[in-house]
Amino acid sequence: MQLTKQQIDYCMECGVCTGSCPISQERPGFSPRQMIKRTLVEPDGNILQSDDVWACLSCSRCSDRCPVGIDFPEFIRSYRQKAKVLANLPKESHHGIFQTITTIQSGTLHQNRTAWTAGAGTIKEKGEYFYFVGCAPFHNPVFKYLDLNVIDIPKNILKILNALGIEPVISNDERCCGHDSYWGGNEELFAKLARKNVETIVASGAKTVIFGCPEGYATFKEHYPAIVGDLPFEIRHISEFLVEKLPASEITLKKSVNGTVTFHDPCRLGRRMGMYEQPRQLINMVPDTVFKEMDNNRQNAVCCGTTAWMECSSCSKTMQTKRLMEAKQIGAQTIITACPKCQIHLTCAKSNTDIDVEVKDLYAYLAEQL
């Protein structure tokens, strides 16, 4: 994205972006305000050579607060592809395994990504609802070392959907949504994945696509139309879908056994999609829930520390530990997340500290009380 002339003129250099940025607090010299200014003077200047271009988490705390609406994450993203051409590459986490998995998925291949549904619930080949599972089947083997079964997230969502009498379509032909390639500066790969996914969903005959992962939802909503035009189906995030369907159903939830709980807003679901209330309403549907907010909640929530499987650093770890401490300080025993990546990152940070807070997925919290 090139900044518009008006935005450039309106940038007051107020520094709210830098003041809001969780990276600036930990990483010396990282300043969104200065990066914008430097780039205006010298459009292809040192921003392309600097590793600062990869440090932004795209958590959107800056753009959410910017008085003139400069979308800094999008601005920095637009430089990433050019930086790659100049061999300025990000440090990929987990040896780059997720980037490779994404690339492999853009080609012709036969996947087995529905095996987990056996015993978890019933699905259909064609139908009105398509459940877009996302990367969980691939995350699962990688994060075994954290004692984390990422696949439990889709299992629980399927369990809830089945309880509502919905048998969704889950497809072996689903691909990565392309979120990480989009934010990692690989637009060509992103476009390929977007086209393949839309093709698969259209072929299933689904009218509504339900997303469990905020990243998939945000990517379809924000970035797919530029590639495939208006989406020929409706897209819903599972939290808004359940807020609508659960009270109308005959399901009664059992009492909570998790003590005091708090909610960690995922950046994509919160700031980028504006869904702050739906997950909270879901949590409060469980009887006897003791819910407390952390100091930084909703628009002010702090990112879980890493985006797009790159640049995990001491800075990320500090952010994650601070977040867990925040939950501890308000007396929460459980921190509920609604994004698989937030759950992975917070669990990883927790394994290196003695902070005694359980990290739990929102849909596990609901499904356990069915």
Partner: protein, 67 residues
Amino acid sequence: MSGEFKPKIIAFACNWCAYSAADLAGVSRFQYPPNLRIIRVMCSGRINPNFILKGFQNGADGVLVAG
């Protein structure tokens, strides 16, 4: 061309055991099929899961880690 399937196999072989064994096979003039491509690594501990996936991404039908 015959219809026989000849898989392309990439072998990551540890310098101190598997690679030495392959080397010894060569010195002893044993033959092995050309569809096995050996990459020497100084230790099989050098291999991470992404090496294996990259192998598949670049068209390998099988990946052998030996060490």
